[in-house]
């Protein structure tokens, strides 16, 4: 009697083969991988008549360009949530690694701004950073950023896997320490004068579309919109690699196993500690690539990049996509759609001319709704009701 609950075991009883009812169809859509995409498109269509700017090509280009950096960071968070962890340190890694890249690459720096910073004279001075103008310097600087981010992630993972400390605690402390360290390095100043080729990684476009003049504003302006950009290529590449890693490799299977039941995974010979360290490293490396995109589009290394509500955006977008906070459930495609929905939401709230306080309140409410949906979906799948 232990194992058959009040419901008949679904294994042994086939459901009658009837035409799907409306409820069943709704359930199928609700549980589908594309649910959030459908939701986003419906939202878009509903708002289109009220917000004429929404479907304007300039706005679509904005939505896309806002998506890519957030997507890269959220992909890292997806891995962590899937093992039932959480990574609060991503924002601080974004700020810190943006400083690392900028201080190595800056072509020149002003002593007025940076002479009080501990890195002045040591790494950077009037003649710029050590890799300024060096052939292949940009690649080296990116490698250094990834190494720095990866080390932070590995340290998180080691503390969590080997000392069994809760991820919330470990990454909270990392967040505080790393962002304080980044601010200390530059004394809260930003590092500008980055090489043009580096900036191109965050801003450069490959295919742009010209739409002719627009006559709504009083000064006619050229209408060139970037659709295929370097950030897009970088983000899509990261997403494809992450998708393969999570769904088609031994490592991905082990990630899910740990997220579903760490004890059972351990007893089944899954290298739990190694996988946890790797997952937190991936999370931090994704944050680093996000830092690359964010800091190049702002054309500066900023210790305060990724402060404030950034983490809300990252975790919110991931959870809206459908990745479970309880672990064991996550897909990169979900996160792609979640980020799309989240960016679309922010964009539309901006277009409605709401104040930032209202925008944050609405975003918060949507994330709570997503977390509730997660619970509901889990129940639907388990209970079959």
């Amino acid at each position: 009697m232990t194992d058959s609950g009040p419901l008949p075991a679904t294994a042994e009883r086939e459901e009658p083969a009837l035409a799907p009812t409306v409820g069943q169809r709704a359930k199928r859509i609700f549980l589908s991988d594309y649910f959030v995409l459908y939701l986003s498109l419906a939202y878009f269509l509903v708002l289109m008549p009220f917000l004429p700017t929404l479907s304007n090509p300039a706005n679509l280009a904005n939505i896309l360009s806002n998506m890519w950096p957030l997507l890269v960071v959220a992909i890292g968070q997806t891995f962590v949530l899937t093992i039932a962890g959480i990574d609060l340190s991503q924002g601080s890694v974004v700020g810190f690694t943006s400083v690392v890249g900028a201080m190595l690459l800056a072509a020149t720096a002003s002593p007025d701004v940076l002479s009080n910073a501990p890195i002045w004279g040591l790494i950077i001075d009037e003649t710029g950073g050590p890799l300024a103008g060096v052939p292949g310097g940009i690649a080296l600087a990116i490698a250094a950023m990834i190494a720095a981010g990866g080390l932070i992630g590995a340290a998180n993972g080691l503390a969590i896997a080997h000392f069994r400390m809760p991820p919330f605690m470990v990454t909270l402390v990392t967040m505080i320490v790393i962002s304080a360290f980044a601010i200390f390095l530059t004394q809260s100043e930003n590092i500008r004068n980055l090489p043009e080729a580096y900036i191109q990684l965050g801003k450069g476009d490959i295919v742009s579309v010209y739409f002719g003049e627009q006559d709504e504003s009083r000064i006619p302006r050229r209408e060139i919109y970037s659709f295929i950009t370097y950030p897009m290529i970088i983000a899509v590449t990261v997403a494809i690699i992450a998708h393969i890693a999570l769904s088609r490799t031994v490592f991905g299977r082990q990630v899910f196993a740990i997220g579903t039941n760490r004890r059972a995974a351990e007893i089944s010979g899954v290298p739990v500690k190694r996988v946890i360290v790797l997952v937190f490293t991936i999370s931090a490396v994704c944050a680093t690539i996000g830092a690359l995109l964010y800091s190049t589009r702002l054309e500066a290394g900023r210790p305060t990049l990724g402060d404030g509500n950034f983490l809300l955006d990252v975790i919110g977008a991931t959870v809206i996509g459908g990745t479970s906070l309880f672990g064991g459930k996550g897909k990169i495609i979900w996160t792609v759609f979640g980020v799309f929905f989240f960016v679309l939401l922010s964009n539309t709230l901006n277009l409605m001319n709401l104040s930032s306080f209202h925008i944050d309140m609405v975003k918060g409410a949507v994330i709570v709704a997503a977390a509730l949906l997660d619970v509901l979906r889990t129940r639907l799948i388990r209970g079959g009701i």
């Binding site: 009040p6 008949p8 294994a11 088609r248 490799t249 299977r253 010979g269 290298p271």
Partner: protein, 505 residues
């Protein structure tokens, strides 16, 4: 005797699928009725209807001739129905008296009348021959004692019908014996008992009448006296089972495959030494707290070992879990839910978990899906796992027996020289039990060594070549198959502690 509870054409459907089909049955007052059936036969559905958890789709229940329609569990309690579940519903942080009075504290001048509570509790406890003070905290009680507290709670509410659902699963043999005495006493007091258990010997011994359910239908209702265990099994599974245990197909070989020498771990093991030959099934019997499961974990590398040496195939066995698995040690845990399965993951992912690394293709360890699917499907067929699409159906949706097959199955995707089976048949119905026994035999016949740990002595006697008995971390003795004797083994298992209070798990 008068009829206490009767069912007339009682039927329950879930989404049009019948779970109970037109059951007509009388339960007479003062009787002990054993209810048996495989998982999914409809026992839970019937109990849930009696308890007011679900309502019947059609048909009628009568209580002493009156229509009986409990709409919620408290309706059933008010009529005099009490459930004693295997997982007890006690507040472990409260005292016995507080638990018994938890929903109707006696009050005097607006204050809880503790004296009255204590007195009434003491009466109830003495009625059940439980010699502890009413103010004892429940968390200091052994599982058997806790169960008696549940029964006291039922008596306090003047329960007429007491339903025991798998009550002996977590009890020691001694506690079980005491529980059975209590049930006898309740019957003598005129209470009606429904006794649900997978352990058919207990059912036969205890019941007046045995009711067998299969596929939601009543297939037999017989006086226990003339209803033998093999007949019960035949009625339950609808066909004759060739005995309770399969015949062993091969004799153990001569070579010693695994040996443990002088294992000691303070507080857990003391100087334990034994060998298992290739092709041998070694039974390990002991009471809870005897160190049997702890030793299994030590051999598998989950827990540390202070002194002693383990050898497998003449090579020392060291390192962590992953090293042991690589050396060919397999471990079927006793805790299926917490440690055995990824409940929410598909069956195929559970089956492939241990050997998943073998399906990665260099250099990026991309999964070879075709080979993986083929192997898991093969295993499903081979192990007769009753499931739909194993790539989508989660392990949670399987019945207990099939879940257990998955737990064992994941170790069969690769070759292992030593199988440690810790309570492999716990909570599993008779049909699946037989299949698990047959599997153990197959493993042994293929030359692996099997360490079979169980608290059901009968199955060890049925399956093992030798039985080792442990008590308080020490090996008390070893029996060859020819010398198996239930009485001798049990006596040895109680060992030195026979006189004192039992050690609770």
């Amino acid at each position: 005797m008068a009829v206490l509870l009767s069912f007339e054409a009682l039927r329950k459907e879930y989404f049009g699928v019948p779970a109970l089909r037109d059951l007509t049955l009388d339960i007479r007052r003062g009787e002990v009725v054993g209810v048996i059936g495989e998982n999914g036969a409809g026992k839970s559905t019937l109990m849930n209807m009696i308890g007011g958890v679900v309502a019947p789709t059609s048909g009628e229940m009568r209580w002493l001739g009156e229509p009986y329609h409990p709409r919620m569990p408290s309706d059933a309690t008010a009529r005099g129905v009490a459930f004693i579940h295997q997982e007890l519903n006690l507040f472990t942080n409260l005292t016995i008296a507080e638990n018994i009075f938890v929903d109707d504290f006696p009050a005097r001048f607006g204050m809880i009348d503790r004296a009255a509570m204590r007195q009434r509790t003491a009466e109830l406890l003495s009625q059940l021959a439980l010699e502890v003070a009413p103010d004892t905290s429940v968390d200091s009680l052994a599982p058997g004692e806790r169960q008696l507290v549940e029964i006291a709670k039922a008596l306090h509410r003047d329960a007429e019908l007491i339903i025991f659902d798998e009550p002996t699963t977590s009890l020691t043999p001694r506690e079980t014996a005491k529980l059975f005495e209590t049930i006898e006493r309740l019957r003598a007091d005129g209470k009606t008992i429904l006794f649900i258990s997978h352990i058919l010997g207990d059912v036969k011994r205890l019941s007046d009448t045995v009711v067998v359910l299969r596929d939601g239908q009543l297939v037999a209702q017989e006086p226990a006296a003339g209803f033998d265990v093999p007949d019960m099994i035949t009625a339950m599974i609808g066909r004759a089972l060739g005995g309770l245990y399969p015949d062993r197909t091969a004799a153990p070989r001569d070579e010693i495959a695994f040996s443990a020498k002088a294992l000691s771990q303070p507080g857990i093991l003391e100087d334990v030494s034994f060998d298992i030959r290739a092709g041998e099934i070694l039974g390990l019997f002991g009471l809870m707290g005897s160190g049997r499961s702890e030793m299994a974990r030590i051999i598998f590398g989950l827990d540390p070992l202070e002194e002693g040496a383990l050898t497998l195939k003449n090579q020392p066995l060291t390192g962590g879990v992953r090293d042991r698995i690589a050396r060919g040690v397999a471990f079927v845990t006793e805790d299926r839910r917490a440690e055995g399965l990824l409940m929410d993951a598909p069956i195929a992912e559970n089956l492939s978990l241990v050997s998943i690394e073998e399906f990665g293709r260099a250099p990026l360890a991309l999964l070879d899906h075709a080979r993986l699917d083929h192997r898991t499907e093969q295993l499903k067929t081979d192990m007769i796992i009753k499931a739909g699409d194993i790539k989508t159906q989660p392990a949670r949706a399987l019945s207990g027996g099939n879940q257990q097959k998955v737990v064992i199955g994941k170790w069969l995707m690769r070759h292992s020289d030593l199988f440690i089976l810790d309570e492999p048949t716990r909570g599993v119905d008779v049909g699946a039990k037989f299949e698990i026994y047959a599997l153990a035999d197959r493993l042994a016949a293929a030359g692996s060594s099997v360490l079979f740990i169980s608290s059901e002595l009968e199955e060890l006697m049925g399956m093992c070549d030798r039985i080792m008995v442990m008590n308080r971390g020490e090996v008390m003795g070893m029996f060859d198959r020819a010398d198996f004797s239930e009485r001798a083994i049990l006596a040895m298992a109680f060992g030195k502690q026979a006189a004192g209070k039992e050690v609770a798990a």
